[in-house]
Symmetry: C2
Subunit: 146 residues, 2 copies
Amino acid sequence: MNPTQSLSLQLYTNSRILIQLIQGSLTEFGLTYPQYLVLAVLWKEDGLRVNEIGQRLELDSGTLTPLLKKLEAMNFVKRQRGEADERTVTAELTYPGKSLQSKVQESLNKLDAIIQEIPDFSIDSLNQTLAGLLENLKAIKNSDHA
Amino acid sequence: MNPTQSLSLQLYTNSRILIQLIQGSLTEFGLTYPQYLVLAVLWKEDGLRVNEIGQRLELDSGTLTPLLKKLEAMNFVKRQRGEADERTVTAELTYPGKSLQSKVQESLNKLDAIIQEIPDFSIDSLNQTLAGLLENLKAIKNSDHA
DNA sequence: TTACACTAAATTGTATTCAATTAAAAATTT
DNA sequence: AAATTTTTAATTGAATACAATTTAGTGTAA
């Protein structure tokens, strides 16, 4: 079990358990975690193309297309074919989709307060480390194709 | 976007990208990442019950039962009903399953060498941080049920 | 001992992930 | 302009995750 194997298991398990905790806050809104992530991207920057959402979350159309159709069926998002470039599809928040933000945020802030109480643990420091790691992993992934 | 929201996205994304890199080493053996994880648990301690594998990976029978059946179909594992307690099922490595370890390990060590080259990054330190975080997250998850 | 609770695995149904392929539109090259 | 390449989503198929339920076996208490 080399350090990379340990790291992958730690990331995988921490990710799943934390998402389970977050899911507890999302269920009341009928959202799954990936659905929430897409909404969070749009709350920050609305009207993005499928492509652009994918870049921000490292997800492809195989995941995003059905997910966006689901969000559209739930009336949180409207999908629209690009006028200039008909290959593209943009996702725009509906009014209910926009309204959701403050409610979801309030619920997630309660969980954050609990996580912040973990002793001897700097969540900001960990976030910085992980942001740096991600850039390196993406670089390795792309260089592998050579 | 509070620190916990950032953390979940970082864990989720880093986890997926690192697993994609590892998958590149596993495909030649016909293994998926969760299948490899179960084998890795058994390489360390053979003959565990479904339950016990689940504790080590934080996975339940809904995930493990079909996965173990797949590993059995690939002849890497043999599942056996407990004699004393017929509710239990134990997973034992077959000879091909055991033989796989050194080959998979060799391939994963190559990836580890690349990851180790990332500058200004202590993978061991990160692993320790994540191990500690996981224990805290599990405690929060279990206390939530109160 | 018989009813009741508990435990372990399996099953069911929904929702991702992701590699690989397809289809259509746009950009580029010849 | 016609052919080729590239780009963008969508589709397809296999394999998880996981909550919720079911089934069967075990333990316990009246």
